[in-house]
Amino acid sequence: MDMDYRQDFPLIASERTIYIDNAATAQRPQCVIDAEMDFYMNHNANPLRGTYPLSIEATDVYENARKTVKNFINADSLAEVIFTRNTSESINLVAYSYGLSKIEEGDEVVVSIMEHHSNMLPWQMAARQKKAVLKYLYCEKDGSLDMNKVESLITDKTKLVAITQVSNVLGRVNDVKTIAEIAHKRGAVIVVDGAQSIPHMPVDVKELDVDFFAFSGHKLYGPMGIGVLYGKKELLEEMPPFLTGGEMIDSVTIDGAVYAELPHKFEAGTVNAAGAAGLDAAIRYVQSVGYDYMRERELAVTDRAVKGLLDIPHVHVIGSEKADEHTGIVTFTVDDVHPHDVSEVLISDGVSVRAGHHCAQPLLSYLGVNATTRASFMFYNTEKEVDAFLASVKTVRERLGYHE
């Protein structure tokens, strides 16, 4: 690979660890770190309110980031791009604002079983509060979705469908475009969790025709604490504010307020302008490397990892056996060995992986596993790193005292 890209990431370049927990958070390139620092060093003021030059500059940095996001996901207008803290906050915004105002008693909410808790718990909350019926869409054991099942589960009573574009455990891509079509045919809206998809593939919200799309900056090489909610303008306009307070009003009296126009209506309080600047830089970085190159690299290392794991006795890969159906995410189990012991062995060999339920407990119990170990790759990971990971996995059972 073009090793130069590794040099863009200080923590990767330091070779401190083999970092393959990218689905939890990516590493940041220097340009993102610089952009965030540049905001505080050179443009820091409270954006959107002050009339002096520094505040206008801060506003420009923040609003330019919104333009970058809008073009990146091909939204129709800047009003459709709302900055949040992360995917969880984006989805909670939709659940509290759209969910609690539009869902009524007896309505149905369809949620897939493979959701991260952040796209499941908000809908459990909304359904409980509004006495709506929560229906789960179950995937096949290999993680794929049967579109006939989708078609029959979504009915005229369905108000909302919540689904992830890529599962953080299985790595499989869901055809959200077709699911959106089915939902719309029934008069429902679709909320898509894009946290694991947008770091790996171009997303065009218009082409997908989704109503809401949420993602986090930090999984896309950007800073922590900045996320995005895309929503169709006509829906956002009808929705009540999620949080109220500073910077989201036009005028306030002791009796009430006239709320600000979109997108500011949904951005109460002082915003994370430095984070937005960092996200702006991250998106530009992704565009400069290019998804084609990133996907090619990710597929190469994922393929090596999946094939390598399948070759090790007593090791089982969760989901598909094909690397191109994993989006860089490879979750696995080792017979008789608890995932925390698997990860402990890997850690002692300098490999940083994740063990546990990955915030997707219902999916894991549906798949019949308690906990798993997950390796997740980005384009900066190398074949050499995969080989070191595999070599370590091979020793796990022996080091735990299982002599074949």
Binding site: D336, V337, H338, P339, H340, D341, E344, V345, I347, S348, D349, A355, G356, H357, Q361, N370, A371, R399, L400, G401, Y402
Partner: protein, 141 residues
Amino acid sequence: MSSNIYNEILTEHNIRPEFKYDMEDADIVLEGVNPSCGDNIWLKLKLDGDVIADGSFIGTGCAISQASADIMLGMIIGKKKDEALQMAELFMKMIKGEATDEEIDSLEEASALKDIAHMPARVKCAVLGWRTLKEAIDNSL
């Protein structure tokens, strides 16, 4: 950062535990949960006055939590409740890295877990059994 934690004592107790079975006529039954991973054990004790006459555990968990619970039971069965509590205290001290070499030696097989002191992420696994034991005895006093 050490994988030496998986020494022979620990792996043996994990793979072939002596006290991992269900005990139907236990006097004390208490569940202990490791909140960081959801692993749990059920500790079961049989008492003869002040003495822990017998004990067992069931549950699921990593090698560290399972082996630690098994080693613990081997040490406390036949001991008085307050002696078991003292051992628990000593074990916690070792895990915090505050025990002297002499104290560590007195913990016999449980000293196989002393390196956990350098593995903060795994402390909760190692103390799960001991913490549950302490709670069970405290409740019974």
